[in-house]
């Protein structure tokens, strides 16, 4: 939102990420809050914060694929698993360090994503979604059966990272590590969409025939999009594995894929900020509902069984209401709120 008298005099100023002083202040305040967050809250909320950061990475990645390039992918959960198992294998069986394991996890997952993205040459929209669903099931099966690498049903115990002698054992220290990685990856994503590659993605999403005629190599950019999105998923999965200190195949199922799709749809397709909002919303909502139902159970004992069912029901209901009343997502709603305040009382 540009206020009156805000002119751009150079190209550099025009393509800045944070353009107005208010926005810069807001982002600085957010970062400051994130930095002091572990000291403000109890352990269980710190864990939720950690989960949100990891989800942000995954959601941003998926948004690049689905929001910016227009390709629906139902394999996000499995790609998380590929990242988690890669880093688990590298840090335990091969004895490499976390600092090698996580980038390697990203690269291996990117390769896997590019392989499973090959159907995008011929398939579009929902048909591509079903093809990526195949990747979800194939990878899940591989996790469970490829015992020498994945430990089969036993899973792999994963150590926490260390620099020199210091081990990031506590949640707090690991939180800072994940925060640093998240900030870097979100910045990278914001930059991707500002560049030629990002514009190519958006052109493919909006009108792929025109894009092809213009000279954008569809296949190359589609595969690149799968690769980048899977890189993000791999890094997020690796961080998830290290945070839990244990990797099993149970958690990388279709439910995770659907949860991530829900995150970006609710947050707003085609916007990095939307992915962040969506991730926060989807992680916090079940927690808030759990707190509410626990309080309800304490007030009305005997409502315990009903409370859990209510939790699921309310969760679904909120998602539906969201999609009916705000289909463009939280990012759009936030823009509207900002516009209302900026232009009050002349909001037309």
């Amino acid at each position: 939102m540009h206020f009156c008298g805000d002119f751009r005099t150079t190209y550099e100023k025009d393509i800045e990420i944070l353009q107005t002083p208010t926005v810069r202040l807001g982002v600085a305040a957010c970062l400051a809050f994130l930095v002091v967050f572990p000291y403000l809250v109890k352990g269980e909320y710190l864990w939720v914060g950690l989960q949100i950061l990891i989800a942000v990475i995954g959601a941003v990645g998926l948004n690049i694929l689905t929001g910016y390039t227009g390709m629906i992918s139902l394999g996000q959960g499995a790609f998380f698993g590929v990242g988690a198992y890669t880093t688990a294998y590298m840090t335990t069986k091969l004895g490499l360090s976390f600092w090698v394991g996580v980038p390697a996890a990203g690269l291996v997952t990117a390769a896997a994503g590019m392989v499973f993205g090959i159907p995008s040459l011929r398939l579009k929209g929902l048909y591509l979604a079903i093809a990526t669903l195949a990747s979800q099931f194939i990878l899940e099966w591989v996790f469970l059966r490829w015992e020498p690498v994945t430990g089969g049903s036993f899973g792999i115990v994963v150590p926490r990272p260390s620099i020199g002698g210091y081990v990031f054992e506590s949640d707090r220290s690991f939180y800072y590590l994940v925060l640093a990685i998240t900030v870097v990856m979100v910045l990278f994503a914001v930059n991707i969409v500002r560049t030629r590659t990002g514009r190519a993605f958006m052109a493919i999403r909006d009108h792929y025939i025109s894009a092809e005629i213009m000279g954008i190599n569809l296949f190359r950019y589609r595969i690149l999009s799968f690769g980048i999105s899977s890189f993000y998923a791999g890094v997020a999965g690796a961080l998830l594995g290290h945070s839990l200190k244990f990797v099993t195949s149970e958690q990388f199922n279709i439910e995770l894929s659907v949860a991530y799709l829900a995150m970006i749809i609710i947050g707003g397709l085609g916007s990095i900020l939307g992915a962040i909002y969506g991730a926060i919303f989807m992680i916090l909502l079940p927690k808030v509902l759990t707190v509410l139902t626990t309080k309800l159970t304490m007030l009305i004992p005997g409502a315990a069984g009903l409370a859990i069912a209510m939790e699921q029901g309310v969760f679904g209901l909120i998602i539906i209401f969201f999609l009916i009343f705000e289909p463009d997502g939280l990012a759009h709603r936030w823009k509207m709120i900002k516009a209302y305040w900026k232009l009050y009382p002349f909001s037309y």
Partner: protein, 403 residues
């Protein structure tokens, strides 16, 4: 219309009542403060009441809570009450991990857990945070203290149960040819865990292992898998599911006319199977880890006095699980302040701990071996009732630890 005097009197009365109410409230708060300041022992309890394993999770959790209530009614552990609230995590691992973080904040000294999912997700954490975790997941790889030193459970592990079943069937096999066996289990860590060790032992005993069938925990029919079993002509089939999926398998097997004898793991068949399978459970075996409600064993009298209605075997195992934890708390309390580490040390002092006959054998935990015992109560369904056929004891082989 009230007069001035009446109104004033009314207000005076109100003020008086308010003063009395405030005093009573204040007194209540002070008294309750006094009550809370009595020392409590905090224990965490994760249960699945409404999730996919809720059918067996609910009775188990109720058994755990029942024993806690009993102990608290008897004065707790040397006067200290056990504070253990049941948390229903519905088999959602994320919820379990979040609740664990809360337990850690509350400084619990031990956790009564439930399924394979949460136990494995928390294995790394409980080891690092030194909080003993007694699970209802009897997966063999939780028995190796070298890998999971803070995990315990109170029944024979799944692979030992499978081996016991195989030995029992081989002993009863009178024909000359090798008996044929298939393994039916869900494509899920819980189902897969005992298969490798089980197959090795089956081959060692001389079984002809024909293959595997995949029946999900949420299956509502298993016709194609059982048709394949029938075509293979298997004599025996291992079922590694929970009561719902096992009942489905038994029903479909009877419908298809299979001659296979089924033997199930501990969670597959219980007293409710008769209702679920409607007669198809006749002749099926279960590798039970406890006595039946109403059995003439010393520990049953206490259980029956606390819980008058008949309960399934899972309830009894929950009861035993809490009994073990309470005993460990008592031993830890004698040595000093109760912490996670002291409870862990106390658990590893268990040598032939007698549960009053509620379990097939006495419980022993050592620093090198967390297998409580290697015995299984093999029960058979005869005319709608579970009957104990044999209490099979296997040797405590070192090479079987953790496998």
């Amino acid at each position: 219309m009230a007069t001035n005097i009446e109104i004033r009197e009314g207000i005076e009365k109100m003020k008086k009542t308010m003063k009395i109410a405030a005093m009573v409230a204040g007194l209540a708060m002070v008294l309750s403060g006094v009550a809370f300041s009595a020392e409590t022992i905090k224990v965490g309890h994760l249960a699945d009441l409404t999730g996919p394993t809720g059918d067996v999770g609910k009775p188990y959790a109720e058994g755990v809570q029942a024993y806690k209530r009993y102990i608290n009614s008897q004065g707790g552990i040397n006067g200290k009450t056990i504070e253990m609230h049941m948390f229903d995590y519905a088999y959602d691992k994320n919820k379990a991990v979040n609740q664990y973080k809360k337990f850690k904040e509350d400084k619990v000294v031990a956790i009564e857990g439930w399924g394979t999912g949460d136990t494995e997700a928390l294995a790394g954490f409980v080891t690092a945070d030194k909080i003993p975790y007694i699970s209802a997941s009897y997966s063999a790889h939780l028995t190796n203290p070298a890998k999971t030193p803070y995990n315990f459970f109170c029944a024979a592990d799944y692979t030992t149960a499978l081996r016991a079943g195989l030995l029992y069937l081989k002993e009863g096999w009178k024909e000359k040819r090798a008996p044929k066996i298939v393994f039916i289990y869900p494509n899920h860590p819980y189902g897969i865990a005992p298969i490798k060790g089980g197959k090795e032992y089956a081959k060692e005993l001389g079984f002809e292992v024909l293959g595997d069938e995949d029946v999900s925990l949420k299956a509502i029919e298993a016709n194609s898998q059982l048709l394949s079993v029938k075509n293979k002509g298997a004599d025996f089939a291992w079922i590694g599911g929970t009561s719902n999926s096992t009942a489905v398998i038994l029903k479909d097997a009877k419908k298809l006319g299979l001659k296979t004898k089924f033997f199930s793991n501990i969670w597959g068949i219980d007293e409710s199977t008769a209702k679920l399978a409607g007669g198809a459970e006749e002749g099926a075996l279960v590798m039970a880890g406890s006595a039946l409600y109403g059995d003439k064993v010393p520990g049953m009298a206490l259980l029956m006095s606390v819980e008058k209605t008949p309960q399934v075997t899972h309830y009894i195992r929950g009861w035993v699980s809490m009994m073990v934890l309470v005993e460990a708390l008592k031993r830890a309390d004698k040595k000093g302040p109760i912490t996670g580490e002291s409870v862990h040390a106390a658990l590893e002092t268990f040598k032939d701990f007698d549960t009053g006959g509620l379990t097939p054998a006495k419980i022993t935990f050592t620093g090198a071996d967390h297998r409580p015992f290697t015995s299984v109560n093999i029960m058979e369904y005869q005319e709608g009732k579970l009957v104990l056929k044999k209490s099979m004891k296997l040797p405590r082989k070192a090479e079987w630890l953790g496998l």
